[in-house]
Amino acid sequence: MKFLKLSAGAMALTAGLSGHAWAQTALTMWYHGAGNEVESQIINQIVSDFNASQSDWSVTLESFPQGAYNDSVVAGALAGSLPDILDVDGPVMPNWAWSGYMQPLQIDESVIANFLPGPKGYWDGKLYSIGLWDAAVALVTRQSYLDELGLRTPTLDQPWNAEEFQAALDAAKNSGKFDYALDLGTAWTGEWYPYAFSPFLQSFGGDIVDRSTYLTAEGALNGEAAMTFGHWWQDLFANGYAPATQDGADRDTGFANGKYAFSWNGNWAALGALSTFDDTVFLPAPDLGNGPKIGAASWQFGVSASSEHPDGASAFIQFALQDKYLADFSNGIGLIPATAAAAAMTENYKDGGPMAMFFGLTEAQALVRPVTPGYVVEAKVFEKALADIANGANVEDTLDAAVDEINADIERNGGYGH
């Protein structure tokens, strides 16, 4: 009897000691933050907090540099070696969901009831991804510039209209103080172009693709509104308001060095602008005819289709949605936290904070990029069209060619599931 009790006790002890590690199922996760120390630190913190908070799952994180991240996922999908949890850039998610890389999330939707619309990734009626933050773009300038040039300060309720915006650019150009009136960030080739510039197109009344069917871009990208936008866009460069080609270094330092009067920039760069000048202001987008628009949706978390533990993956994602982590990311990288409650916890977005107006801006003006698997190709085509027009190509022909390419791609893919 004594022997049995002893051995039972021994067995229980060993089970108890090793049981903790033995029962935890490993989950793999990919994140795009390699090379970015602040983001890496925060995500590592979330992972270790999650691992410590429960004993069913253990997440290991693998970091990738942002530039190569999407390619890595595609290569991983080809090889069948995707992780359980991955993060995905908002507009790309429909393509990955349609291609079969991702499966719907299994989180409690009441948790995200208060989230801004941008970070919620729905496709085909199901929630595939959810983000901890949203990104917005605004016109960065200095109050002193506005005063010197005698310009009205636009507000969210009364943004500049097209004439006022043009007048502002003219005033800046004619003052002779600046190399260029406007820094659009043409150095940031890639997703920045559709993200930052399609809102202008949408504000004129056009769009990258016809959102009523998503099956054609005819009329949206080459209709009258789009042609007006195209000529307006070309004139910005032809008349010397903005540089068409720009070096990356110039984008980083140009505004801070006083080269530009206005800078069309995302709020992730805003922290830098705030620290450079003491009178930095963020102006809302101008209303170019169809209402002012800015982009929305940034990186979001999702579960890969090949994951064997979607419940665990979803549990991790739900854990990460806590307000304190939203606030951490916001403080770290300057982006808009997804809930108002988290915003109140941050330095920049609480009431009266220097970037608080972005929260209202996103709510009022944000329009997500087209929600379609065809977006991957559409973005590239749109980017090239914008660059060509900026360099002086014929507007009608360029937009027509872009429409043709997008339509051909949609057709080749059987309508992308629409």
């Binding site: 090379g35 693998e62 991240y69 390619d71 290569a75 991983g76 080809l78 090889a79 330092t253 760069a269």
Partner: protein, 292 residues
């Protein structure tokens, strides 16, 4: 040559050296710029490009860029990966391509002519033609690993090494070289009853120093500097070579100083290697030109 007199001989010499030096400056100024910039903080670096200061070690010099570069990316790992992949490929290439060339030059076997023609024909196929199907292929190939059969070669060392071991150019170099070796040595060995592997190992390979050096150098340069293939097939940090690691430095706020430091770190070893052995380097590459 008619106008060379003792008086203008000195002048001609000065002219020649001046021309040579101007050309030399053209060839090395970007590299000087890179190394100098790696010691300057990013802001200063960018303003210095506007003047001759770009080439001078002036201003706020420090090792900060290097320290931060190491903090941002596992540079040691990348260099190790590049060296491992390059070294392994070079060794395997020398072995396998020389064996293949040996069989064409010294052995008579059915199908020899056809196989050689096919191999030489691949010289025309640019790598970029096959890069995408190769990607698809590599993503599906099996491998006998420690845990049994694994599928897919992406994100590994083998995907960076094995497709490049056998290449037409190296085989061609070896074939040309073997053709010029004295045949009597081989005949004598055959008469004495040596087997082909023994002839390969004891006679042909020891005489192949020059061509091995040339092939090794060309292969080393090609593999260490390769960009397109690793970009497509290796994204996991563990296996990344040096060129793909460059991506780490192009985040949202680009730190040019760190990039210069990184570029210097990955270029200077190769440069140093080259400068030490430049005589052998150039001599062996030159020798291919004559035979070609």
């Amino acid at each position: 040559m008619a106008l060379v007199t003792p008086e203008n001989r000195g002048l001609r010499l000065v002219v020649r050296y001046t021309v040579l030096t101007i050309i030399a400056v053209i060839f090395c100024f970007p590299l000087v710029f890179m190394i100098m910039s790696s010691f300057k903080p990013s802001q200063q670096l960018l303003t210095d490009t506007g003047s001759l200061r770009a080439f001078l070690p002036v201003g706020d010099l420090s090792f900060d860029n290097y320290i931060e570069a190491f903090a941002r990316a596992p540079i040691g790992l990348f260099v190790f990966n590049s060296m491992f992949v390059t070294g392994t490929t070079v060794i395997l290439t020398l072995l396998i391509c020389s064996m293949t060339a040996f069989s064409f030059v010294y052995l008579k076997w059915r199908g020899r002519g056809l196989v050689l023609s096919i191999i030489l024909a691949t010289l025309i196929v640019p790598f970029e033609t096959i890069v995408i199907p190769l990607l698809l292929l590599a993503s599906k190939l099996p491998w006998l690993g420690l845990h049994g059969i694994e599928w897919g070669w992406l994100n590994s060392y083998r995907v960076q090494i094995i497709p490049f071991v056998a290449d037409g150019l190296t085989i061609f170099l070896f074939v040309q070289y073997f053709k010029d070796l004295p045949g009597e040595l081989i005949e004598a060995a055959r008469v004495e009853g040596a087997s082909w592997p023994q002839i390969y190992r004891r006679i042909v390979m020891p005489l192949s120093g020059p061509v091995m050096a040339t092939a090794a150098i060309l292969k080393f340069l090609a593999m260490y500097n390769s960009y397109l293939w690793p970009l497509m097939v290796v994204q996991k940090e563990q296996y990344r070579p040096v060129m793909v690691g460059l991506q780490y430095f192009f985040q949202l706020n680009i730190a040019w100083g760190e990039i210069m430091a990184y570029l210097s770190l990955i270029t200077v070893p190769v440069l140093a290697f080259y400068l030490l052995l430049q005589r052998a380097f150039i001599a062996s590459i030159a020798s291919t030109g004559v035979k070609g």
